[in-house]
């Protein structure tokens, strides 16, 4: 029997999960849950019901793993622990500083009800976290570097859009090539915020807005832009639609460290992602881990998990024998 997947929340991430399920032969999409009027929602797959979130508990015994596709700011801190009482759940909670609190709430709800939950699945947190864990264990005497981009930062784009006079905006985070090269060469540089990333903004102004005033407000914005070299480009709505509607992203994780009786040998581990679609790749990671969550719950292993708790063998459609023969 196929693993029955439910999607809670049908934005970019929910649509990505819908696509990712299609790439498997052991899972099927059972229902999509939405806070909108279900009749207003057109999903891509045929013959899959769209259900109001108000009725989700009626699906308690018809869903094996529920994928939560809400936002980290306000949706998931409430939804994940609440739904973990009745479902095996998985989310992509990405507010790094709040992970311990979120983990504790989800773990308690899941354990108390015999469910298996997983938080913070995606590429960062997610695959980047895995690389940081493996490489720090392998090279304990070393240094980590994470770079993001080139890609769209939703938070920074939103911050620009809140400025008076801005009609639309997109912000790209760009790693500084010289910093990447220094790390790649094992130079172990100490890098300031400004030396690691630049910020490129593409802004559509409202009629009559003062570009110089908007530019100043962006580049001086504390936390978001003040510590970076920021360039602001004013463009037309047409150019924005044509060239800046994608959701590409990516990044790099490095660990550089030494071995040897006198630390005489150095090593560089590099992992990078170049993604055409951030939400679709994130969804693909989530669906691989949804497979693991089902398998863990079948064994009675309940509570909240992260990528650190899951052996790779649980992620694959291959048998352990096939994996050893083909991938080891």
């Amino acid at each position: 029997m196929k693993t029955r997947i439910g999607i809670a929340g049908y934005g970019n991430l929910g649509r990505g999960v819908e696509c990712a399920v299609r790439e498997t032969s052991d899972m099927e999409l059972t229902a999509v849950f939405t806070r909108r009027d279900p009749s207003s929602l057109k999903i891509q797959t045929e013959n899959v019901p769209v259900v109001s979130m108000d009725d989700i508990l009626e699906w308690k015994d018809r869903i094996d793993v529920l994928v939560l596709c809400g936002g980290s700011a306000t949706d998931l801190p409430v939804q994940t622990p609440e739904l973990a009482k009745n479902f095996n759940v998985i989310d992509s909670f990405d507010t790094h500083a709040n992970i311990p609190v979120h983990f504790a709430a989800v773990d308690e709800a899941a354990k108390a009800n015999g469910n298996t939950a997983m938080i913070s699945v995606g590429w960062d947190p997610g695959m980047f976290s895995l690389i940081r864990a493996y490489s720090s264990a392998v090279l304990p005497n070393g240094k980590d570097y994470t770079f993001w981009g080139k890609g769209v930062s939703q938070g920074h784009s939103d911050a620009i859009r809140r400025i008076e006079g801005v009609a639309n905006a997109k912000q790209y985070t760009v790693p500084v090539e010289a910093a990447l090269e220094a790390v790649r060469n094992g130079e172990n540089p100490e890098l300031t915020t400004r030396q690691k990333h630049t910020r490129e903004c593409f802004v559509v102004l409202k009629e009559g807005a003062d570009p110089e005033k908007v530019r100043k407000e962006i580049v001086e914005m504390p936390n978001y832009f003040a510590d970076y070299d920021t360039t602001v480009n004013f463009i037309s709505a047409e150019e924005f639609a044509a060239n800046h509607s994608g959701l590409a992203h990516g990044g790099f994780v490095f660990r550089s460290g030494c071995t040897g009786f006198n630390h005489e040998h150095s090593h560089v581990i590099e992992f990078s992602l170049k993604l055409d679609s951030n939400p679709e790749f994130t969804s693909s990671v989530i669906i691989a881990y949804a497979r693991a969550i089902k398998r863990l719950n079948d064994k009675g292993d309940t509570g909240c998990k992260t990528v650190f708790d899951i052996p790779p063998v649980l992620l694959s459609e291959m048998t352990p024998e096939e994996m050893r023969a083909r991938l080891l």
Copy 2:
């Protein structure tokens, strides 16, 4: 109490394990076992006994994990299953084609005696295998590429040294830059053996040997060189000692794949290693997994494992809480 590590076999790998243990705060080197006369062996650490392999069973209850540092061709196929009867063991068996047979033999011996064993730990097999497993699970609709080098191939160097007239030789495997770039750009190329790697040989001739004859014998050698573009450089013993005594290695693993309802988005995952010392890095991976083997055995989880079976949380000296707070 610290995890007590034993080393069986004191070549480059054994010396690397000795160094790697020093980088941990939760392990200690308890003994080194050798087939040589123990009194002839000078190890780097003070106050650690060197013991004859003949007496290894006397150490059965004084070693938590025994690291087997013999070769894959003849040592490990015999040693690992034999020693798994009396110890938790870990090896770096790297004859890919024979892994299933080796696994079965080790699994049976370990399970029958309540021990935990692990085979094929290092970087390939090992970390490269992990990347292949994670990325094929995440991008099921995709294609894998593994490139090795630039680095020393021990097998190819040995093959050259067996040729009449050769005093010494080192062979470097070099990935073809254009092939790397095509894969990195998501072009999904079909690559022949010749298009992926070149082979660079540095050869010291014996007095009176015919260089042209040796060169021909190398480049036409079936399996080892005939399918590659091979360059042969004849150098002096002095130049060999000065420039070709290192053990650097490395390589690249890629997965390139598509997502989206119509596979309209493509993604490239890239992992690479640049290693000053192949045996010391391999040893560092082994020691991280030795920690996991001890933890699994303490829980009563016995039998043979590979990197696919081990959750990352078992590799780290950090607690799960620390890992979630610092690495996720």
